[in-house]
Symmetry: C2
Subunit: 245 residues, 2 copies
C-alpha cells in the first residue's frame, strides 16, 4: 500500500471547494475520480487545507494510498491526463512513508491574497484577484497587520461554521506589499481558522481605504467578536501557496 504525497495546483472558481459535496464538482471528488479512472481503485484523498469554493491553490498538498506499486512519475502523468478538462494540475509526486499525513503532519501553511487596486475592472485576471477600485494605502494596511501577529484568540476573524476546537492560533507572518496596481498579502501560520485569512483581508481593506485607523484592528481582535471585525474578502484573491512538513 504505497502512500503518495502530491503538490497540486487548481483554479478554484468552478469548484464547490476542496471537499466533496452534493451540489457541484469538488477538487477532492475530481482527484478521486481521476485515480479511479487511472487504476480502478476507490480511494480517499486527504488535503492539507480544505479550501472553500472559489479559493485557488498553487501549493496544496494531498496524500492517498494505492494498492500496488506505481512510480511517482507514472502517477503524475496519469492523473494529469485523467484530470482533464478540470483546472487541476499535479505539480509533483513523491512516495512517502505510511505515517505521512497531508493534514496532521503539516507544520505550517502559507496563503497569498491578491488585490488589484485600480479604477478599471480586471479582464485578464478576473476570478483570480479581488478588484478594489477605491485607492488603498498599503502602508496603513501593513501597520494594521502587525497587530495580528503572534498568538491570539482569533474569534473576531473566525467563521461561524469553523470546526476548530480552539480559536487560539499563532500568526507567524502577515505582510502587505504593493507593486504598481497589485497589493499582495502573505499569511503564514501552523494552521488557520475557517475564513481567517479572508476575514483578516476584509478588515485590512477597511484600513486601506481609510475607514479604519490601523489601531482599530487591535481593538477588533481583542473584542473576540466576529461582528467587531470587517467583512469576509471574496475567495477569488486567495491562494494556498505552500505547506511545510
Amino acid at each position: 500500500m504505497p502512500r503518495f504525497k502530491l503538490r497540486i495546483e487548481y483554479h478554484g472558481t468552478p469548484f464547490v471547494g476542496w471537499q466533496r459535496q452534493d451540489n457541484g464538482i469538488s477538487v477532492q471528488g475530481e482527484l478521486e475520480a481521476a485515480i479511479f479512472r487511472f487504476c480502478g481503485l476507490e480511494t480517499t484523498v486527504t488535503a492539507a487545507g480544505r479550501t472553500d469554493a472559489g479559493v485557488h491553490a498553487t501549493g496544496q498538498v494531498i496524500h492517498f494510498d494505492l494498492d500496488r506499486e506505481v512510480s511517482a512519475e507514472r502517477v503524475q502523468g496519469a492523473l494529469n491526463y485523467h484530470l482533464k478538462p478540470h483546472p487541476i494540475a499535479v505539480r509533483t509526486v513523491e512516495i512517502v512513508p505510511d505515517d505521512f499525513h497531508a493534514r496532521f503532519s503539516a507544520l505550517g501553511r502559507s496563503y497569498l491574497y491578491r488585490i488589484v487596486n485600480r479604477r478599471a475592472p480586471v479582464a485578464i485576471e478576473r476570478e483570480r484577484v479581488w478588484w478594489v477600485s477605491v485607492p488603498l494605502d498599503a502602508e496603513a494596511m501593513q501597520a494594521a497587520a502587525r497587530h495580528l501577529l503572534g498568538r491570539h484568540d482569533f474569534t473576531s476573524f473566525r467563521a461561524a461554521a469553523c470546526q476548530a476546537q480552539s480559536p487560539d492560533k499563532t500568526l507567524d507572518l502577515l505582510q502587505v506589499t504593493r507593486t504598481d496596481e497589485e497589493i499582495r498579502i502573505v499569511a503564514e501560520a501552523r494552521s488557520f481558522l475557517h475564513h481567517q485569512v479572508r476575514n483578516m483581508v476584509g478588515t485590512l481593506k477597511l484600513v486601506g481605504e481609510g475607514k479604519w485607523h490601523p489601531d482599530r484592528v487591535k481593538a477588533a481582535l481583542e473584542a473576540r467578536d466576529r461582528a467587531a471585525a470587517g467583512p469576509t474578502a471574496p475567495p477569488d484573491g486567495l491562494y494556498l501557496t505552500g505547506v511545510v512538513y
Copy 2:
C-alpha cells in the same frame, strides 16, 4: 466631435480577435456595442494592433469620436459598465486632438509572450500562457533571438494572410528571460507583420528544446521562406502590452 484615446485590456480567448467578423464576438464589436448602449451613437473604433483570436492585451490603444462633449472619466465609467460581462476593461481615457490616430500615429508596439515550462500542465494560468512540457534552454533562445534584431526582410516569419505592403521590418528588441518556471519573450518594433511574434516564438522554441542550433534562426531568416522557420506559437501566451506615440 471630440476624439477619445483609450488604453484597454482584454482576455482574448472568447473573441474571434480584435476585428468585427460574422463568426463570433470581437473586441471591436463589443466596444462599439458598449458605446452605442452608452450614448446611442454608431461609431467605428480603431485599434493600434488588430490582435488575432485568443491574443490578449494589457495595453491596446484605440480611438473613436463622439458627437458630444463628455468627460474622459465618464467615458471610462460608462464603457466599463456597458462592457460587462465581456472580459474587456478600459484602463485609461484621454481626450486627444483630431489628428491622433491609434494605428497610424503609433511609433512603436510592445508584445510579451509567456511560456510556462514545466512538466505539470497549467491550471490557474490556462488560456493565459503557452504550456511547454519539454525543458527549454532560455539562454540558447536568447542567443538565437539576437539574429533577428535590426532591419530585415521577415518573410520567413510572415503569415500567408499578411496584408503589409513590405516584409521589411525593424525589430528593436527581442529578449528572452527565465524566472523559475516561466519564460518571457519581449518584442518591440515600430510595427510587426501578421503572426510575426508568434512565428518567432515558435521558432525560438525549437532552439530552446535543442532541435535547432541558435544559428539556424539566422539561416531561416535569410531564406525568406515561411517554410524555413518554425511553427506558429499558440495565441494564448501573447499580450499586446503597449503602444508608443
